[in-house]
Symmetry: C2
Amino acid sequence: MKAVAALSPEEIHEAVFTMGRQARTAARALAILSSDQKNAILHAMAAELREQSAEILMGNAKDLAAAEENGLTSAMLDRLRLDEDRLEVVAGGVEQVAELADPVGDILDERSRPNGIRIQQIRVPIGVIGIIYESRPNVTSDAAVLCLKSGNATILRGGSEAIHSNRAIALALQGGGEKEGLPPYSIQLVPFVDRESVKEMASMDDYLDLIIPRGGKGLIETVVSLARMPVIKHYDGICHVFVDEAADQEMALEITVDAKTQKPSVCNALETLLVHEAVADKFLPALAERLAARQVELRGCPKTQAVLGDQVVAASEEDWGTEYLDYILAIKVVSSGEEAVAHINRHGSQHTDCIVTRDEANAERFLREVDSACVFHNVSTRFSDGEEFGFGAEIGISTDKLHARGPMALRELTSYQYRVRGSGQVKDSPR
Amino acid sequence: MKAVAALSPEEIHEAVFTMGRQARTAARALAILSSDQKNAILHAMAAELREQSAEILMGNAKDLAAAEENGLTSAMLDRLRLDEDRLEVVAGGVEQVAELADPVGDILDERSRPNGIRIQQIRVPIGVIGIIYESRPNVTSDAAVLCLKSGNATILRGGSEAIHSNRAIALALQGGGEKEGLPPYSIQLVPFVDRESVKEMASMDDYLDLIIPRGGKGLIETVVSLARMPVIKHYDGICHVFVDEAADQEMALEITVDAKTQKPSVCNALETLLVHEAVADKFLPALAERLAARQVELRGCPKTQAVLGDQVVAASEEDWGTEYLDYILAIKVVSSGEEAVAHINRHGSQHTDCIVTRDEANAERFLREVDSACVFHNVSTRFSDGEEFGFGAEIGISTDKLHARGPMALRELTSYQYRVRGSGQVKDSPR
């Protein structure tokens, strides 16, 4: 393989499309592997990740050295860094995926028609999935093995800053898997990091059935604007908690504090709190006290300011649409459940939104009218997660409405096929 | 509304985006209508279509006059033409949709977690669906009412040649529906036919959740290359029948003749026949005789030519990938089931493919290994159809693998939402 600088656009095109053709062939072989075969492959991959740990950590050290030279922030360096413990988590994750139920072959629907034909709707793999991601090298393994378990081939395109780590991990996965019969080219990593490779992937809809971008909004936007095939997007989580007038105050305090502070950097963390005006006078001061103890900055509407005084700064219009991922909380007092729902549907990101209330009718109206992937009643938004839902590992939380919505795990990495069996039925002469 | 020529690109942008905003508001209202309300609306629409038949036929007469002036072919004129009988079919179709089960609110999955949270996965409408279609004015009604029954708002953009028919039909649907409480702007027709309007629709991913193009390959390609939101494609049907060595010869003849000739102009008609070499000498002459009686042109591989002589012309490589939609059949003799599967996966369009055989093992291998939306055993490909599958009316047959594959009816016009109920669960302090 030539150095990156030496590759012409034509060579990149040829290289990426060759990977596409190879992946398509691999996908046909993968689609008919049994669950036992796939699980044996996964265990061999986990073993090889452990076997190759020295090589992987050496690759990671190269990436870290380059990153430091390039002045990456310490948060970025931390995302990039692997060590024995983190690598063990990656290998253990592969074994966990082996334990999950295989969705392929599930019968989704079954019916017989009056003319005697029998119709089965059966889960089958999607085919070839492109994963385009940024700095975390563990995504190389996490994404590839979920796709593999669901019978799909993958083409992985990681960030330039993790290229040596990603190469070593992909090599271990493919090499380990082949010992147990993994078809060649089932897991391929784009071996260069030219931006042109993303464009080429986005254009090859004959070979890629789906692209999942995992990363910031800029990356997702780029992929969406280029892609000719379906893209499943994992955009922001601007999550809300609505404290209804009939809320249990202590429960509302616990859920709000948990949703905001238990891990503020993730997409299912709380960003905007809505409080019914009937309880604002009592609830807000109690909340401000608990959040002050955790150094949370409060940004409120005028009514919130009237209650909390200098414990809160004025929220701007922009705050209602901001995913802080930080110790900051926007607060708005609303005069009704309808206003809460309207605010969420207008400013939210259709990710996860919660009502806290003892009133069943208010709860049911909220659950029905809020147009989000996950709507919660008396549960912290932090439970919006594939593992918490009992799906096992997740590839992300989709903010799309087509194909996959909310936590996206093995089932969402499958398509289906209709298998129809008859005894010679024709349209012309009924028999 | 100004005449088309007078609209600037900015005015078109503003008009289409205004429709988008209005549709989003309508969709929220539609999502919470009960099945009874929606059915009452559908019956009122059917009544209004009948009530307005004179206006609709007058609009259609205008379109037909313009089309004749523009020299459209008689086949195109026939697609465009409405009369009392055809309009009654359209109105009756609306009533049939009222009879179908409402998918909204169906519980797809339900589970409780060890921490006590209860998770329901519930069908909900998608939101706003754009339909971009060509000359048939009945699509205006057929598509809009399927979207309505599944709780979605629609923005319809029909072909210029049917604009007066489409306007009159859309007016009757919206007007009739409003008598029974249809939210305003639930069904909107783009009132001008500038090409710019397709571009604008494809760009407004804030307001359109999905676009379904219904028409030729050129139209679909244009939408795919422009669209920022998901597109569900209904591409060609290059359908195959494979006559296995263990086929019942009479059944294979009947299925082949039916699939090819019962209605050759549709996507589930047969285009390429594959015959196992062990039975080619016996099967092909019998088939040629039956097809000759129906004036079907045969294009064969060299082995087919060796058997049929001058009853067949030589097939070119291009024939294997052609959707004739006509009285033409491509024929290839293959030496094994594997070769048949490989041919179909390479040249087919993943629509509908059939094996005729008495051998169960051969059949099951074929069903599992052919990567098509519909795989049939001993059934004519002409049964690949939403109504034949028992789904009721269909909006098309998807050749995509994401979200909807194969016959696409009401269920496929829905998304889902997770509704989670708890008793104050938080991550920090387990309770």
